[in-house]
Symmetry: C2
């Protein structure tokens, strides 16, 4: 794999550059830990931002075509997109209003989304979407049939032009605020799974699989 042309002038982090990360391993870790992405595209100058699930295979990110039904209508070749994945890790309570912040990990990928034409790549991409969210689930489900596959569009976005931003740790206050009489610190945030809720139509003797009982993101 060739080295990414990153940061490009378009992905160089403008604001708080000390939080910028450009290495591919960090970006992959954030992408693999995220649940959903927000896909941006523009039609007639109007941007649209649509939340959707995604999968990754090596240096390609895949999204379900349904996320971009508006975009697909106009799509002949590739379409310029921005895919953003954000993980919120905590609220950062500083002494001054202006130093309040959040702990987070985010990735921004700029690129061209193209339709996946090859049936094998499409199937692998859909599997990566499923495995991304819930590893093991694909094998336990009724697989897609020919008709479903044909009716589904999948978009590929190469992970080539990207940047990440990461903030961790305590608040950073100005020296003159350090004695301001208030609490300061971090309220950690995490997406947690609850007890699985059975489909009311499910055979009552069927137990929830381990991956649903103890679901947690790495």
């Amino acid at each position: 794999m060739s080295e990414a042309p990153t940061p490009s002038p378009r992905t160089r982090v403008v604001r708080e550059p000390d939080r910028a990360v450009y290495d591919r391993d960090t970006v992959y870790r954030i992408l693999d830990a995220g649940f959903i992405c927000h896909v941006g595209f523009a039609l007639d100058g109007q941007p649209f931002v649509i939340p959707t699930s995604y999968g990754r295979q090596n240096a390609n990110l895949y999204i379900h075509g349904s996320a971009a039904s508006r975009m697909l209508k106009q799509m002949k070749n590739g379409v310029a997109v921005c895919v953003t994945v954000t993980l919120l890790d905590g609220l950062v309570l500083a002494r001054s209003v202006f130093n309040h912040s959040m702990n987070y990990r985010s990735v921004v990928i700029l690129g061209e989304a193209t339709l996946v034409e090859d049936p094998q790549e499409k199937l692998a991409a859909l599997r990566s979407l499923s495995e991304h969210i819930l590893p093991g689930r694909w094998e336990d489900s009724r697989p897609p049939n020919e008709q479903e596959l044909r009716a589904t569009s999948v978009l590929r976005v190469p992970i080539e032009e990207f940047s990440a931003k990461v903030r961790t740790g305590p608040p950073i206050d100005d020296a003159e605020d350090m004695n301001f009489p208030t609490w300061a610190g971090v309220v950690p945030l995490e997406m947690k799974a609850g007890e699985p809720i059975r489909d009311p139509q499910l055979d009552p003797n069927r137990a929830a699989p381990v991956y649903a009982q103890n679901y947690a993101r790495s």
Copy 2:
């Protein structure tokens, strides 16, 4: 307040229209429950999607200008944006791969972002951003001074052209899949706060405030 011109052709939900919601109360509830938004704007045809916090005051949404530093450089009048807020509520495990889904609440607002010029509106907007994330915190923090306020840009996006999508409940499988031998149901997801982590530089006698100890979104 006049009725919103919603759905417009641009905000009418194309995909899964049965999940579409266009009433303002539902949209406000989702906005008020969300943590962050993803703001989309286009520069030279390239979309950018940036995560950021936000506040709401009546029919206006406010975001911090720092989220759009690239955009602000080119901003003379308003800039077309899309603001999307997504809350993930659960993984929906169906019997077939293709009926897997997520339970979620999302709002898409299309509009023109304009800089807030009036100092009173700017201060109120910043307060709404703070109160949105952590009610009560503003009063406990060192307030912004004149210089900080001048150095900060705030953008206003009117909540006029919008749509929401909501999915709740169990999986919906095809009739012929109902006996497929697998578990089906929902893994609920929720953003949870952990124990507050004190700033190492904080006076050890200062206890965490109630809003940090028992933080939960409504």
